[in-house]
């Protein structure tokens, strides 16, 4: 994990007539967090989605560990988790069941590991309730447990602190610190800077 590196060269992307990404360049190494900042509509979400391949790039290349991600798309995806605005949870299943399927896609999990992860993100108490009865902040805590269970070197987070209370904000910082200390790479689109150890954080302003 420690040698991980994500590099993007000259990324261009249009949305209809609008040129959203204009030659974005970035390099993030293991142990670093890149914060994407910029006004609404500056292209933070678009950049995250383009990096993981959900949005089609008109031009430019993305390298994971110096290998073009298009050469081994599934291998690259197996190394990342993308967490968007809305946690990808089914309202009719409980938090634990959701994780059994969502994170179970990647790794064989036991009920114990799932509950351990839910406990770590403060979601242990409501893990067995249907997600539809949970608040937005509680759902996000369940989704964060999915992030832990995936155990991948690359995290792509879109507004990770949305809907979280102050202890949730601290939780994000703690999780990120642990991830970075273990040599992981993280990119987060943020409005408010995350309280992560400053030496590990770099910033890319897309409005500039």
């Amino acid at each position: 994990m420690s040698g991980s590196i994500l590099r993007a060269e000259n990324l261009h992307l249009w949305r209809a007539e609008r040129h959203v990404l204009k030659g974005v360049e970035l390099t993030v190494r293991g142990g670093e967090l890149l914060q994407l900042t910029g006004a609404n509509g500056a292209g933070k979400t678009t950049l995250l989605r383009a990096l993981c391949g959900l949005n089609h790039l008109e031009e430019g290349r993305v390298f994971w560990n110096e290998r073009d991600v298009r050469e081994d798309r599934e291998g690259f995806h197996a190394a990342l988790v993308y967490l968007g605005h809305e946690p990808p949870l089914k309202p009719d299943l409980s938090g634990a069941e959701n994780l059994r399927f969502w994170s179970g896609m990647r790794r064989r999990l036991t009920a114990t590991t799932i509950h351990e992860a839910l406990r770590q993100t403060g979601a242990g108490e409501f893990a067995t309730r249907p997600v539809r009865t949970l608040s937005a902040g509680q759902r996000r805590r369940v989704a964060l447990a999915g992030l832990l269970l995936a155990a991948v070197p690359l995290w792509l987070l879109d507004e990770p602190t949305t809907n979280l209370d102050s202890s949730g904000q601290e939780l994000i910082a703690t999780l990120l610190d642990a991830h970075l200390c273990a040599g992981g790479v993280a990119i987060a689109a943020v409005h408010h800077r995350l309280a992560v150890e400053p030496a590990r954080v770099r910033e890319l302003n897309l409005s500039a």
Binding site: F101, R106, L149
Partner: protein, 232 residues
């Protein structure tokens, strides 16, 4: 740092997880399961009321009635195939799971067939009975509807994936899929007709089987490509 075990999920296990999940969801929220079935029962029950209560007339009409009603009921259910998962971001996570999207969609389509095609094929002989079809044809009707709905689920998965971006996808889906379903209808109703008459219905069944094999091999690939486009 993380409590996860290191062993990775195989593609087959991932597809099985998708099936388990979809079955679990369907039994938590049963309308998805019951609506197509209720639609099928009502449509077939309309015919004796509107055409004629004469048993010999109904028996002649039975294959066509059963098949058109089953086709429309299955089509009704196809609209739900990917829509919920697209809305709550599950499809996105499938595409990013590091697993082959083709396998996962194969699982989803299989689950869809278990939830709509199998109940329909159990219900079809019962509704056939109300149309004057002899009980001896039950097994034949069940088999043909099961095979036909399986082919329709696969072919329909392409349409369901293609219409994900459309706001009112349901009608568009029907327009896209019904012409492609014509061979299923032709061979399916032919086999049913032969079964009702008590004759050998192997030939049209083999052709239905061939359609299943063809759609099984090609449709998940096409559906996966269409889903990727819809995620943009």
């Amino acid at each position: 740092m993380s409590p996860a075990a290191p062993s990775l999920t195989s593609p087959l296990l991932a597809a099985r997880l998708v099936i388990t999940r979809d079955l679990m969801l369907a039994f938590r929220r049963r309308e998805q399961l019951l609506h197509p079935l209720a639609f099928f029962v009502l449509v077939t029950a309309m015919f004796p009321l509107s055409v004629s209560a004469e048993r010999s007339v109904l028996r002649t009409l039975a294959p066509g009635v059963l098949w058109v009603a089953a086709l429309l009921a299955a089509l009704l259910a196809l609209d739900f195939l990917f829509r919920d998962d697209a809305q709550d971001g599950t499809l996105e996570q499938y595409a990013l799971s590091g697993q082959s999207l083709t396998w996962l969609l194969l699982g989803k389509t299989g689950a869809h067939w278990l939830l709509t095609g199998v109940p329909l094929s159990v219900m079809a002989p019962l509704m056939g009975y109300t149309l004057g079809v002899p009980a001896s044809a039950s097994v034949g009707i069940m088999l043909t509807v099961a095979l036909g709905s399986l082919a329709l689920s696969f072919i329909g998965s392409i349409g369901a994936a293609l219409t994900l971006g459309a706001r009112r996808g349901g009608v568009l889906l029907a327009i896209l899929i019904l012409p492609l379903a014509a061979p299923i209808l032709i061979f399916g109703s032919r086999a049913t007709e032969l079964a009702i008459r008590g004759e050998v219905y192997v030939a049209p069944m083999e052709l239905l089987g061939a359609i299943v094999v063809l759609s099984f091999t090609l449709a998940p690939l096409a559906a996966a490509a269409a889903v990727r486009i819809s995620l943009e």
